[in-house]
Symmetry: C2
Subunit: 203 residues, 2 copies
């Protein structure tokens, strides 16, 4: 097995579902967390200057989704069938589109009241609710999003929407299948164990 080092900030963000996959498959990895004060110095050594980066035997792989998809295959979380893999990709890209709006707002807006207004009046009705309605219906009473087994799409959705749910559970009232699914992923023994024992972060 190669030597893996996952470099990210001392935060959950886009690295956390990758950490979940490592934990799920019991693949050892170095969880390299860059503190804010050290970033300016380390940035130059990071190809593309963005995190996360995964070092695979010291060779860098950038881009959070590329890393996640690579580790998903190593972790047995990728459907064998091309079309099932494509449905996973489409779900992951849909979640990414939604989350990028959140990240962009958080980066550009410090005012707590304006963030709250934006979430309630713009983000939720226009972007989040239509996606939640669609994936809630898609899930129905199935256990996982694609096929009969848990896949990396389940991890990516449960992590991203789980973060939003933890701050805005009221917004999920009409989407009980999604809420139940988030809980089911977090209750997988390896994930539960990771969440209980992971380093504490403020964001």
């Amino acid at each position: 097995m190669p030597d893996y080092t996952l470099i990210y900030f001392n935060a959950r963000g886009t690295a956390e579902p990758i950490r979940w996959m490592f934990s799920y498959a019991e693949i050892p990895f170095n969880d390299d967390r860059v503190e804010k004060d050290d970033w300016a110095e380390r940035k130059n050594s990071i190809p593309g200057g963005k995190l996360p980066v995964l070092l695979i035997d010291e060779k860098p792989l950038p881009q959070s989704q590329a890393i996640a998809r690579y580790i998903a295959k190593e972790a047995g979380l990728m459907p064998e069938d091309n079309l099932d893999a494509a449905y996973c990709d489409a779900l992951v890209d849909t979640v990414r589109d939604v989350m990028e709006k959140v990240y962009a707002k958080m980066m550009s807006e410090d005012d707590e009241d304006e963030r709250k207004r934006w979430f309630q009046e713009e983000f939720f009705p226009s972007h989040m609710a239509p996606v939640l309605a669609r994936i809630n219906a898609r899930l129905g009473d199935r256990e996982w999003f694609v096929g009969e087994q848990v896949s990396w799409a389940d991890f990516m959705i449960a992590h991203a929407f789980g973060e939003i749910h933890s701050h805005h559970s009221e917004a999920f009232e009409d989407y009980p299948a999604v809420v139940e699914h988030i809980e089911k992923v977090r209750e997988l023994p390896a994930i539960k164990d990771w969440i209980e024992n992971r380093p504490e972060t403020t964001h």
Copy 2:
């Protein structure tokens, strides 16, 4: 072989590299182009309300990158090796990050002078040039971006950056390997044939 219908606007955009892959592998597909005036009516029948969508035996697959990756596998444009596939993904995501800035500006800004100023003073120096420098060095005197064979990453890069190159060739002066690569993909017999015979579009 399933029946494929690729639904997109009457434009190149994010559907065009998918059309290239179909053409490259000689996979027949219905090239369903929605005219602007018809979009309001058809939008409701599109899951998620966004294009492109690929109908696979009438079952919809959304998200341009998910479609491209699926067709890449069907077309023999996906490396077998997991790590090589991941390098393709990382390149494709890097190009996507760059192109999303272009799309966002084009959607929000109609003024031609402001678009030109933005391109020269913001987009090119801050976003495009660093990526071009990196991928130009990565390519060096290699023929293709990943491994020894042409892959979907070559198609995605050559299409996206080829569009920018066609309007701003002066910006590519320091990146001759990238320019040569764009030309090499466009000169693949199937792609050359597609480009010569494709429907004319204004954008």
